[in-house]
Symmetry: D2
Subunit: 236 residues, 4 copies
């Protein structure tokens, strides 16, 4: 694990943008999987002007790592958020965007492998220790991709939010098995609210109750935080 | 996971020898970690004449992945077994053998990394699901290398054997974190006695009660069995 | 460069078979490019029984590295030779065989890249220093793949043979640029007749007059010879 | 080859800084070889504040790729220039700086290999097509590292400059063989004065008269230019 504790959210974002742009600058087809949410907002703000209409980034392809279908909507929550935050403002070509859905999630890991594998995945971490949609209580470390149906109530705080607020009865996600195959795994976290869970997930034992704890096993794993989120973490 | 179910112990051994020799045939310094025990006996029998006094394999280095110190003996159980089964008959130069001991185990993973990392590790699996010395009840997935002291009795079948029969009060082992960094992980298993545990470890969920189950996460993992050991395994 | 000087043609072939089988034993899709001709005859003899009808090698794909179209024949010389020597007796599925032809050669390098790149290429060397169809007098090191039309006579010994004996007026080949992208490049040579050219190609300066001399630049290059072919080569 | 034609020197420098910082952000020991000269001045300006006293970059090591000893000076031209432009202002620890000299150049490639190889090399190109100190008339593509003694006059424009102005009678450099082993090779060029040579070196045939032309063979080669330097280059 490579710890990069920066001072500010701005610095955290800048360090992450560097890594994203560098992977994009390779000769080969580059496959990225990036996260939606609040943590990366500044990252995409910085990234968009550097990527938009740059023909030398035309060989960069994007894959989402989870999806939450919403009743009556064609596009799920994750892709909607990525479209708004990055794909549309950066004018990424549809042919370079490869959505995982509740239909194709089982074949998705092989599709990624056949395209040369993921060069980089950018993820966040939830205050409950989840990564992608690997949630406490439903995580399946050994699966490359799986679907969770919310038919049977799970005794976890996130259940209500996902089931009710997000108005869905299932979600799909890549599992730890797929993340272990990513060449460079980057986790970003900012703010005091992430300090305690980062310590538990990255400096503690591996347990499905803290799904992100499994990521300690990744052979090329970079963690980038601001001062607050990194406050309780060992330097190495 | 790459499943190679061969018909016989002979074929399993031959398929493994091919992989070992191939890694040895690279231009770079090659770092291997190989297992002692019964399963690989035929492998070393086949390997020795191909390796002995071959100057073109002088760049191959060896690391043990665990060690059990024995009271009143300078060399531990693992290294003793490897010396007898392979290092001595193959005339491997002492400078190419890098022992992990109860003294240096904490620094060993970094020593391996500084030497370019392990290209291949050959392991077996115990009927109780252990790999290297990652035992049910004492496994620590998140550690690169760790030591288990047998001061406090562990409620596991293996405890008596290790403590009494092996006449030791501790052992050291590389952990799952180190194995995830090996470029090619190869597990061999033969005989009916391994069929059920292989099924549980490789086709079931990941759990510390079956330490080898974590190996499903390895990105380049080859499992080679004879017909009996592979009988209950999925083909992929 | 990794030099493996074995004693006999038999040993050279066996060492090469080991490397081929090992690459085939990886988890990922495996892409190989193999040579026709006399040197590998024993290799394919040994390989066929180990590969034929083995479901665990179904993920292995094959690409030819050159082709010589023959008037009035649907299949060129290279693919015809490979079909006879290996693909047919080993019962390789047509879907796993990817022929380069005079039609598709320009797109072929990208097709290979999109499939994950070549894991291993097995080549021989001509007494005139040619590799694949990179011939003295017409070599283009900087091309990934190119076509040579035999309209203008080339002042090289090979010209008559190719033009007349092979009854063709052109050929296509992968160039040095493509070979530099192969993860593991293996060159085999046996017999006294190859000793002098091997010395010039591998221990001398790089020159288009000895096309194979460029291969010295490959970062993971293994040369396997019998005693006669390796007689004049440095050990490293 | 990956072409990144940016609009300005500022943009070229920023794109290069991204790549440098990204490689530095890996978990493993990172080995870099960077260039002195005018082109990278802005790069180091941008890089210094991001690297200075950052403990998370302590695992980054530096190697020079050539050296020109100067009579009566302990440190050669290249290391002096790198010290002034980057190592000193960035407060890089001496233990992380590994100088190649006229004494150790023969052992230097192996020293680099034993340290895990170079992750990235940043180079420029001369108006005469030289890279590192691989000069027209004295280039040796097949050498990993070599020394040129200026005892016998070479009929090349650079001879006078090196011999007289630089007040030296020899220089050492890594050769193309070493560069082919670098995981990511990055060439920067800015200004009209580089446009013509870039075209010849990167879009023309490979010839020792234009040493940099050999770099077309590198499997992961990124070229970053400003608008002027890239004006005559193909986009791919």
């Amino acid at each position: 694990m490579k710890m990069i504790k920066t001072a500010t959210y701005e610095e955290m974002s800048e360090a992450t943008v560097n890594i994203l742009l560098s992977h994009m600058s390779q000769e080969k087809r580059v496959n990225l999987s990036i996260t939606a949410g609040n943590s990366p907002k500044k990252i995409y703000e910085m990234l968009i002007p550097k990527v938009k209409n740059k023909t030398y980034y035309e060989h960069v392809h994007y894959y989402n790592f989870d999806e939450v279908p919403v009743e009556g909507q064609a596009v799920g929550l994750t892709m909607s958020a990525l479209n708004e935050a990055y794909f549309e403002p950066a004018a990424i070509q549809p042919a370079n965007i490869h959505p995982m859905t509740t239909e194709n999630y089982q074949a998705f890991p092989q599709e990624i492998a056949d395209a040369g594998g993921l060069d980089l995945m950018l993820i966040g971490i939830g205050a409950d220790g989840h990564f992608c949609a690997n949630m406490p209580g439903t995580t399946r470390f050994h699966e490359a991709a799986y679907r969770i149906d919310l038919t049977q109530k799970v005794a976890e705080p996130w259940y209500e939010e996902v089931k009710k607020d997000l108005n869905t009865d299932c979600f799909v996600t890549l599992g730890a098995k797929s993340l272990m195959r990513v060449r460079h795994l980057v986790l970003i976290a900012n703010g005091q609210g992430k300090a305690e869970i980062l310590k538990q997930a990255l400096n503690g034992p591996i347990t499905p109750q803290i799904p992100a704890s499994i990521l300690q096993l990744h052979p090329n794993f970079t963690v980038i935080t601001d001062a607050e989120a990194g406050a309780l973490l060992k330097d190495k």
